[in-house]
C-alpha cells in the first residue's frame, strides 16, 4: 500500500488537454482541404479527380460564371485534388477539428467569370484559365503576348474556321463544305 502511494505520488500527469487544444499531427496528415480561390483557375481537374464527388462545378450562363463548390461533408481526404491541381490551389491542411452544428457550414464556393469567344460569342473557357495560359507562355520567353490576346480568346471551332478562310485557300471551303 505504502509503495503504491509512493509510486502514485512520484508520477507525473501525462494527460493531454485534447480536445480543448488540438493534438499535434504528423507533417503528412491529410486534414481539411484548403482551397485558395486566388490561385484557382477553374480548370475543374479536381472535379474530374474527386472520387466521391465532393467537388463540383456548374456553368451559370445567365450570370456568366463558373460556380465551383466543395462539400466538406462528402470529402474522403484522399488528396487526389491536390495531386492534379496545376496551380497548387488546393492543399490538404493539418486541420482535423471539423465537426459542425449546421451542415451548411461545410460548403465552400468560388465564382469564376467565363471567357466568351471573340468569334461566335459563346463561352468556351474560364477567363482566369486563358489568362494563366498566356502568363505561362510569356514566362517561357514569348514576347508581346498581349497583342495576340484575340487568338487566345477565340474558341477552337472559330480558330479552325479562321484558318480555313485565310489567305488564298478559299477554294478549300467549297470542297470541305458539309464536313465542318
Amino acid at each position: 500500500m505504502f509503495t503504491f502511494l509512493k509510486t502514485a505520488l512520484r508520477g507525473r500527469v501525462v494527460t493531454d488537454s485534447d480536445p480543448v487544444h488540438p493534438l499535434p499531427v504528423s507533417s503528412h496528415f491529410r486534414g481539411k482541404p484548403e482551397h485558395h480561390s486566388r490561385q484557382c483557375i477553374g480548370c475543374a481537374a479536381c472535379v474530374q479527380a474527386c472520387p466521391s464527388n465532393a467537388l463540383s462545378v456548374e456553368t451559370d450562363l445567365s450570370a456568366g460564371l463558373l460556380v465551383w463548390t466543395f462539400n466538406l461533408g462528402r470529402c474522403i481526404f484522399c488528396a487526389r485534388c491536390e495531386e492534379v491541381c496545376p496551380t497548387a490551389a488546393i492543399r490538404l491542411s493539418p486541420d482535423y477539428e471539423l465537426a459542425v452544428w449546421d451542415k451548411s457550414a461545410l460548403q465552400q464556393q468560388a465564382h469564376f467569370p467565363l471567357c466568351y469567344c471573340r468569334g461566335c460569342g459563346q463561352p468556351f473557357a474560364v477567363q482566369k484559365e486563358v489568362d494563366y495560359v498566356m502568363a505561362l507562355i510569356e514566362k517561357n520567353g514569348e514576347d508581346d503576348i498581349e497583342s495576340r490576346r484575340e487568338t487566345f480568346e477565340t474558341c477552337l471551332t472559330c480558330r479552325r474556321q479562321n484558318s480555313l478562310l485565310s489567305g488564298g485557300h478559299l477554294w478549300a471551303e467549297r470542297s470541305l463544305k458539309g464536313i465542318f
Binding site: T15, D18, P19, V20, P22, L23, V25, H28, R30, K32, H35, S37, R38, Q39, C40, I41, P51, S52, N53, A54, V67, N71, L72, G73, R74, C75, I76, F77, A79, R80, E82, E83, T87, A88, A89, D95, Y96, E97, L98, A99, V100, W101, K103, S104, A105, L106, Q107, Q108, Q109, A110, H111, F112, P113, K128, D131, Y132, A135, L136, K139, N140
Partner: protein
C-alpha cells in the same frame, strides 16, 4: 411505435423526421442539467466499419473518451446520444428509426463520417438514402473518412457544448478573380512538369510534389543549397530521388 411509411416528397424520398420545438428546448437543457456521463449508442447504418474502428480507437486508453464522461452503452434505451455511421442503406433505415424511437427524449443525434453526412463515396448508389439527415434530424455532423479519434473527441465535445464550432461556410469572394501566381517561373514549363512527374513516380503523389517543390526552390537559390538540404534531411531515399531529379536537370542543361 414509429410509423415507417411517412410522407414522401416530389422525388419519392420519405421526408425526414421533424423534432418538435419543446423537444429542442429540452435538448438544450439536457446538457446543462446532465449530472452524469453522457451515454452513447452507436447505430451502424450500413457503413464499411472504418468509422466503427475509429470510434473504438477513441475509447482506448490512448484517447480515452471516458475521461470526458462519454460511455458507450449496449442499448438505445439507455442512450442520450445516438451516433449514426454509414450512408443509411435501404435495409438499415427501419432499424435506425427503431433505435431512434427506442432512445428516450431528449436525445442528441450525431452523424458520423463522410457517409453519414451526405452519403460520402456511396452517395449515388441505388440502395442508399445518402446521409443520416435524410431520415432523422441531426444535431452534429462530424466529417472525415473515417474521422480520427481526435476528431471524434472534438465532435463529442461540440455535441456536449464544451467547445465551439471552428469552421464556417465560405461564400464566393472578390479574391476569386485575382490573377494566380505562376509556380517556379524561372524554370521552363516542360522541364518543371518532367521534374514533378519523375518525383511523383518515385515517391508517390503527395511526397513527390513536396520533394519536387523543395528541389526546384533550392535549385534556384544555388547549387550548394540542394546538397545542404540533403545533408540536413539525412534520408537515403530522398537523396536517391533528388539524385534522379538532378540527373534530369543536368541532361536538359547539356542539350
Amino acid at each position: 411505435m414509429h410509423n415507417f411509411i411517412t410522407d414522401r416528397d416530389a422525388g419519392r424520398i420519405p421526408e425526414p423526421e421533424e423534432s418538435e420545438a419543446c423537444l429542442q428546448k429540452l435538448k438544450s437543457s439536457l446538457l446543462r442539467k446532465l449530472k452524469r456521463s453522457a451515454f452513447v449508442y452507436r447505430v451502424d447504418c450500413g457503413g464499411c466499419n472504418g468509422c466503427e474502428i475509429e470510434i473504438f480507437a477513441a475509447l482506448t486508453p490512448v484517447f480515452d473518451a471516458e475521461r470526458l464522461g462519454i460511455k458507450i452503452v449496449p442499448s438505445p434505451r439507455h442512450a442520450d446520444i445516438l451516433l449514426f455511421t454509414g450512408p443509411v442503406t435501404r435495409a438499415m433505415r427501419a432499424p435506425a428509426l427503431r433505435a431512434w424511437d427506442a432512445a428516450p427524449d431528449p436525445k442528441i443525434s450525431i452523424s458520423f463520417g463522410a457517409c453519414g453526412n451526405s452519403g460520402g463515396i456511396f452517395h449515388d448508389l441505388y440502395c442508399v438514402w445518402g446521409g443520416t439527415d435524410k431520415i432523422l434530424p441531426v444535431d452534429v455532423y462530424i466529417p472525415g473518412c473515417p474521422p480520427t479519434p481526435a476528431a471524434t473527441l472534438y465532435g463529442f465535445a461540440l455535441a456536449l457544448g464544451l467547445l465551439e464550432q471552428k469552421i464556417q461556410a465560405r461564400p464566393a469572394s472578390q479574391e476569386d478573380v485575382l490573377p494566380p501566381h505562376v509556380h517556379h517561373p524561372l524554370i521552363a514549363q516542360s522541364l518543371r512538369i518532367r521534374i514533378e512527374r519523375m518525383a511523383r513516380r518515385l515517391a508517390g503523389y503527395r511526397y513527390g510534389r513536396e520533394i519536387s517543390d523543395a528541389f526546384m526552390q533550392k535549385l534556384l537559390t544555388g547549387s550548394g543549397s540542394v546538397q545542404q538540404w540533403l545533408r540536413e534531411e539525412d534520408d537515403p531515399r530522398l537523396t536517391e530521388i533528388v539524385g534522379h531529379l538532378y540527373g534530369l536537370v543536368q541532361g536538359e542543361r547539356e542539350r
